[in-house]
Symmetry: C3
Amino acid sequence: MSKTYAGNYFEDFQVGQELLHTSPRTVTDGDAAMYTALYGARFALTSGATFAASMGMERMPLDAMLVFHIVFGKTVPEVSLNAVANLGYADCRFTAPVFAGDTLTARSEVIGVKANRDGKTGVVHVHSIGTNQHGETVLDYVRWVMVRKRNESSPAPETVIPDLPSVVSPADLVVPAGLSGTAYDAVLAGSEFLWDDYEIGERIDHVDGMTIEEAEHMLATRLFHNTAKVHFNQFVEQHGRFGRRIVYGGHVISIARALSYNGLANAQTILAINGGTHCNPTFAGDTVHAWSEVLDKVALPGRTDVGALRTRLVATKDLPATDFPLKGEDGRYLPNVVLDLDLTLLIPRR
Amino acid sequence: MSKTYAGNYFEDFQVGQELLHTSPRTVTDGDAAMYTALYGARFALTSGATFAASMGMERMPLDAMLVFHIVFGKTVPEVSLNAVANLGYADCRFTAPVFAGDTLTARSEVIGVKANRDGKTGVVHVHSIGTNQHGETVLDYVRWVMVRKRNESSPAPETVIPDLPSVVSPADLVVPAGLSGTAYDAVLAGSEFLWDDYEIGERIDHVDGMTIEEAEHMLATRLFHNTAKVHFNQFVEQHGRFGRRIVYGGHVISIARALSYNGLANAQTILAINGGTHCNPTFAGDTVHAWSEVLDKVALPGRTDVGALRTRLVATKDLPATDFPLKGEDGRYLPNVVLDLDLTLLIPRR
Amino acid sequence: MSKTYAGNYFEDFQVGQELLHTSPRTVTDGDAAMYTALYGARFALTSGATFAASMGMERMPLDAMLVFHIVFGKTVPEVSLNAVANLGYADCRFTAPVFAGDTLTARSEVIGVKANRDGKTGVVHVHSIGTNQHGETVLDYVRWVMVRKRNESSPAPETVIPDLPSVVSPADLVVPAGLSGTAYDAVLAGSEFLWDDYEIGERIDHVDGMTIEEAEHMLATRLFHNTAKVHFNQFVEQHGRFGRRIVYGGHVISIARALSYNGLANAQTILAINGGTHCNPTFAGDTVHAWSEVLDKVALPGRTDVGALRTRLVATKDLPATDFPLKGEDGRYLPNVVLDLDLTLLIPRR
């Protein structure tokens, strides 16, 4: 019997199945520093312990996207090792802050399967949960992937497509325990603009661009224990679809989020990812720009100190975001648009 | 009103103006490890906690240049986002050691402005201070930059050029609290040569060379929260002056300082940067060599255990330092000389 | 007298000589994170503090290979700065776990010298020991290197070749203090296969490949304080034997060990390196694959909870390991085989 793990194929997934993800991962100040070196994010809540304390946090939390990547990475071996594409995210909520020294574990439940007509692939929905060493859920989300079948002749399972919210309900958003927007120092945070100052429909060009190097996206992807093969093996990928390694989509998310500091500096953390699409692949040498659109302004139940902005975060490659590029006249994403993410961000109110 | 921050232009600076720099930055063991990976510095005081303890320090301090870069990076958005060139440093003193877990904040005061005759730019002098979470000043320096004007037609301000010392006075040098050179283990530190063994005028070729990669200088520059655009965006820079990203000058300083271990291994920390010039730009693919000249031997007031060496630290690109390259017959820096830095280094005495 | 250190030449080594290695090195969570980013190792014992606790460890130990590289790096200046080749390892034992915050120091004793017939080089055997801040030995090994002579005319010393074991004796293997294989959670560790499930002679293709970038191997090698020149200086190496920088052999070991998780996920730590050869040089751009062969199954004295597997770990460049490539018909290593390492791995028993 083979000692190596080949990952699950479409036939291996059944609705209701529990997937335990392996190798709990202790996240440390070291991971946070590596994350800073990779993306340069400057949000004050996750940059300075004194600032976090001024917002009521006993300790400085880790960047929400670092937590996302680590939990996501944990799910790759059992969920997407044989995936053709990562199709989408839904109902992703950050439910508790994570601190240096915490150990994250992940598990998933299969909540949807649907065979594709091509007979070669199927779509699998999984509900994944990341927990800390106290058993608290820190991250809860659904993603769906297109996975290869082991055998084209395998019969199609009964189709199950889960009912998913298009937006996380405000009642389900969790403000990090202890965090307060009272006595908030906007100037020190880097921008005078708070929740009250943004308007629905407003679009923001985040101005700066960041060029990706092979070493960077591989360092990131390994840091996250993400084992998807297409990111690492040029010997194989030279003969693949693109002739080169593909950058982990989450790497682009983190670059875009870091760039969004310029225009959304007070959006201190991510409360939810409502949905998202990796519209086109990204490669080393590409320069990422980003822009945001305010989709909604959300009052948080019982809170007047902080509110939420629902934003679309779009990233491009080799195309500045000045004109807010998104889709062509045919309704399809432009070829240089690589990310269209629907976020709910926490931001202090006046 | 635009939500994004465009940085200050020459017209925005007035003498006496206070600039608060944003996003306090907690520096950790993670940053120290990243710094080691980037430069490979081996000075014993900042490498081994046991060695730091043997020199009287309760905890191992972080590398002085890491502190410099983080404070410097904090100043970039308000000082040099629209700079054409970083012209010089003066009177830079490291006034307290920084330890893992400390949070650094920076502020600056504009102390000089001078419009250039071209009508397009001006020179701004700023006095910057980095403080820790206790409010102690850890770094104090002046730098001046050439900054673009917003409008060529803007009137020139009254010229103010601050009076700056060419060398930090010995009375202003601060030996890290607790540090002692008594019972110093030179062999374990990596060299038998102490303060007494160096001669004024002595020049040292630091022998080794280090080739720079794009991923490395960008990891470094993001780690330092330095947002200067020219370091990151190949899409724009391909059409720029050099056709490529420019390496942050501080990256070259740290490489040269790390190389200087071979010849100055006992120069455990930097007390002051008296001045410095980034003579020519550096790019990925360049190999940096370095050499030092002992400019002065400074007795520290009241100390017989440690002294100071004032050194010139020169870095080159693609040119070994065997012949101590510096300037041509025309008195100008040779094209392969990239750094000429005037340092005051702490070193134990016999 | 030159202030710089030129390293030892063959004439400088005498049997019985003690070499003290410089700059004690405190290893931290930051180093561990950097190591994860560089290699992506997922062994549960060194990934999650909760998992380490479930195996009886009060704290999560650092990866054994990180310890190896740091001690090895410490020995480079005095042992192999003028080496032509790193010829082999023997009797390498990991004798105590290392934790974040520990400070490692290294010393070596010369235990063998033999002049080569070419008159230009000689072989030096050193016995190196790494200790922590409590004076405990954490790593103990012999390596031998081919070192340049300073002068071809120097007389040959009396040949001494130490008697070295081909395999570390089971009685000399040290299970980390506190570690227990009772109540071991194999599923969470990532594989159902324990000591009992492997057979002598069994070969495992570790499937995945990892492409090396210049930035990565240089970050690694600097992190380890390894100063061997051939890894860093493209300006010199462009005229060297290969026209390019050579990747530190230990970088390849760590990649191969990380890849071996797929097939040996429960081989939680390395107890010994019995021997090893860097068969061919590796360069940036090469993609490393790996395979293992079970050479022996070793019962550990007095233990029924954990056992040891002696394995051969082979790494290739630009050649998948499907067919277990090793040597040609001429008995020589194939040109794409870069590593042949003989390891003793700790693995829980049923």
